[in-house]
Symmetry: C2
Subunit: 106 residues, 2 copies
DNA sequence: CTTTTTATGGCTCCTGGTGCTATAGTTCTT
DNA sequence: AAGAACTATAGCACCAGGAGCCATAAAAAG
């Protein structure tokens, strides 16, 4: 896309990206190749108990958590009982909350 | 669950929560009732073009975005072409990125 | 030029997640 | 005290979100 303009600078910027010192914005497109090992790993599955513990740690009701995840209350109830297992983005968000707290989604 | 201990302090803390001055942790459980209008609204659907524009704004490849959302590359490709429409947590995360940037998910 | 990665496209298939409904316990309001 | 409103659980039918697979083309890396 961007035609090679000033390769030196570009390379330097990409170095920073690679090191996680810079998040993106400038330089060329960030690809998997560039990020390499520093790409977010596939989030591990969370047990029903872990999910409930997580929610209680954040001190929110199922309804509030549901809104943040953009899912239904019934679904939250189910994943806490083990009737359903979250995957995909739902799982990603739970991990996000686990790491940074619900406040991070505000 | 928690038996009313020192209602005065509790009430005061909940006031702070209600005002968004405090995020949780202490006080009683945060419920929808308490949050009221300050609850995250249902995210509006994003058009294929908006999604692609968003990704390009963040300068990441489909593969990188996919990892962040914890979905497959194929799926990202599809929602950018309109072959599938994201909903639930996937949509929530896209809005998150739109608001705070991909860096917020790190 | 060769290899790797990105992006698209299509097909099948499974289950995540919805919607609805009902019940019971809590906590507010009057 | 009774009632309204919210929380949490539960079950069931149903749809489409998203996975997995394979193939193709094009761009970037080496």
């Amino acid at each position: 896309m961007t035609t090679k303009v000033n390769e030196e600078i570009d390379r330097a910027l990409l170095e920073l990206v690679k090191d996680g010192l810079v998040t993106g914005a400038s330089a060329d497109k960030i690809t998997l190749r560039i990020l390499g090992e520093s790409t977010p790993p596939k989030p591990a599955p969370l047990s029903p108990d872990e999910i409930r513990a997580l929610r209680e740690r954040e001190n929110v009701s199922q309804a509030v958590l549901a809104r943040h995840l953009n899912v239904t209350v019934g679904y939250v109830s189910k994943i806490e009982r083990g009737a359903k297992r979250p995957s995909g983005s739902a799982l990603a968000m739970l991990h996000l909350i686990k790491r940074k707290g619900i406040a991070a989604l505000a």
